[in-house]
Amino acid sequence: MSAFLGPLEADGRVPPRQQTRVAAFLVSAHGALARQFGLALPAKFDAAWQTELNAQFYRESEIVSLLMRATAWAPDLGLGPMAASWEMAWLPAPIEGIADHARAQAIHLATLAHAVHAGIRPAALLPTEAGANDPFVFALRRIEFESSRLLQAQILFLKGPDLVPFRDAVSAALERRHGEVRRLWREVLASIHVVVRE
């Protein structure tokens, strides 16, 4: 087990099987966020913050599109059951202490997005010798960089004044989400002989 992807191929590329597992997980997570942001997006905005929903929707979609094209996909029969478990994990779960349905939905989406954007650092998996001009390598760096920007919307919302009365419930829900997302990420990486640094 290593903390990094590899051993790299002769041209500095990450092996296709590792690319496939990592990209499949990221497509699943960011794809789920894109769908959920898309569903939350009203046809016409009546508040300034909704413009951020629009940005999040398109940037999540961009990440999916980027991975679809930048990954050297390899046949992987083990992906089916793993992908099913990921998709189940992205579904909303009840949030203890939040009775209002709309608020609970918003917190669910924000906590899931926070956990994905903050807890998953794909670029940190790259060894120093990874090929700088390889599209998959570049994509992982871009996704990690973009995630820390996207994360700011979740931080603003979850730390914002509207949720101050629910701070404990929100923090507990967020820590739980982080735990779930990290566990899935650890499992994916373990399946390709990478041990995540925590």
Partner: protein
């Protein structure tokens, strides 16, 4: 790798050196991690000390709370770590953010300490420090940990240290980039949003205190250390020649020697703070020089001190 528990969080720590020896506890600054104290562990253990290091909650291998980090948590963690060291003498030192945590610990649990060494430290957010802190936070948000490191490296280290590393800065930054997460650093920085100045409480610090300040530190300049010197009764301000904010990285051998000599002086009953202003030697083992009588140590040019 041992861990302490703080609520549901785990704190990574290391204890090195002989059990029962007087101990130094070293507290990291922002973006740092315990391994950066390696040279201090070696030097202090050689001088007969035990050394405790740890990763702050939200940094390094310690757990990183997802949304909020309260500075009270760091004090509680430090108290638990010091509890692991038994009843022997404890000397506490911290750099920058870690110096602030050390100051707060000395205010709240001073009876447990034999000596205190705040380094590149502050007790209040002056307008400059507040605005620099805000700008660094914005840099972190917009550019990630790597950009924050890009800002901090030239701000806090000398040309002499940076010059040979210019061609390999990425490798210098890499470990710090790997072990630090944007959201966790942001939480640490945002723990200052409700920061209350410590200045009114500094006079309650009764332990011998050696305040270390780099000659060229412009992130936390001399005036911020002067507040500590004026308010802490048994203190001395020691200026490290040709040093910037991060002198613990750049001048590890000298700083470790100063830490050891301070503790040895305190234990031997030789320490007298007297709110002196001293200039540290350039090299380990050298002599301290009193700041020239009659000149203002808060100025960068030789100006006679005005009577107060």
């Amino acid at each position: 790798m041992p861990f302490l528990s703080h609520g549901s969080y785990r704190i990574r720590y290391e204890l090195d050196g002989p059990a029962g020896a007087p101990a130094y506890v070293l507290v990291n600054g922002l973006t740092q991690y315990s391994e950066l104290w390696g040279a201090y562990c070696d030097a202090l253990i050689t001088r007969g000390f035990r050394v405790a290091t740890f990763d702050l909650l939200g940094q390094g291998v310690s757990d990183k709370p997802a949304l909020f980090i309260n500075q009270d948590d760091h004090i509680a963690v430090l108290h638990r770590l010091i509890g692991e060291l038994g009843d022997g003498q404890i000397f506490l030192s911290g750099i920058s953010f870690g110096g602030l945590i050390a100051l707060r610990y000395a205010i709240e649990h001073g009876e447990r300490l034999s000596g205190l060494v705040p380094m590149s430290c502050f007790a209040e957010l002056t307008p400059q420090l507040l605005l620099i802190g805000n700008a660094l936070r914005t840099g972190l948000i917009l550019g990630g940990t790597g950009y924050l490191q890009d800002l901090l490296l030239p701000m806090n280290l000398s040309d002499q240290w940076l010059q040979p590393l210019l061609e390999k800065l990425d490798s210098v930054k890499r470990q710090g980039w790997l072990v630090n997460d944007v959201y966790a650093l942001q939480n640490l920085m945002e723990s200052f949003l409700d920061f209350k100045p410590l200045t009114p409480q500094l006079s309650s610090i009764a332990v011998p205190t050696m305040i270390l300040n780099g000659e060229f530190d412009f992130l936390t300049p001399r005036a911020l250390h002067e507040t500590l010197r004026v308010e802490i009764p048994d203190s001395a301000l020691v200026i490290i020649p040709r040093a910037y904010h991060a002198f613990t990285l750049e001048k590890a051998a000298l700083t470790a020697d100063l830490l050891a000599r301070f503790a040895e002086d305190v234990m031997a009953g030789r320490w007298q703070g007297n709110k002196q202003v001293l200039i540290a030697p350039e090299n380990p083992g050298g002599a301290f020089t009193p700041f020239p009588e009659g000149y203002d140590h808060l100025r960068a040019i030789p100006v006679s001190r005005t009577a107060t």
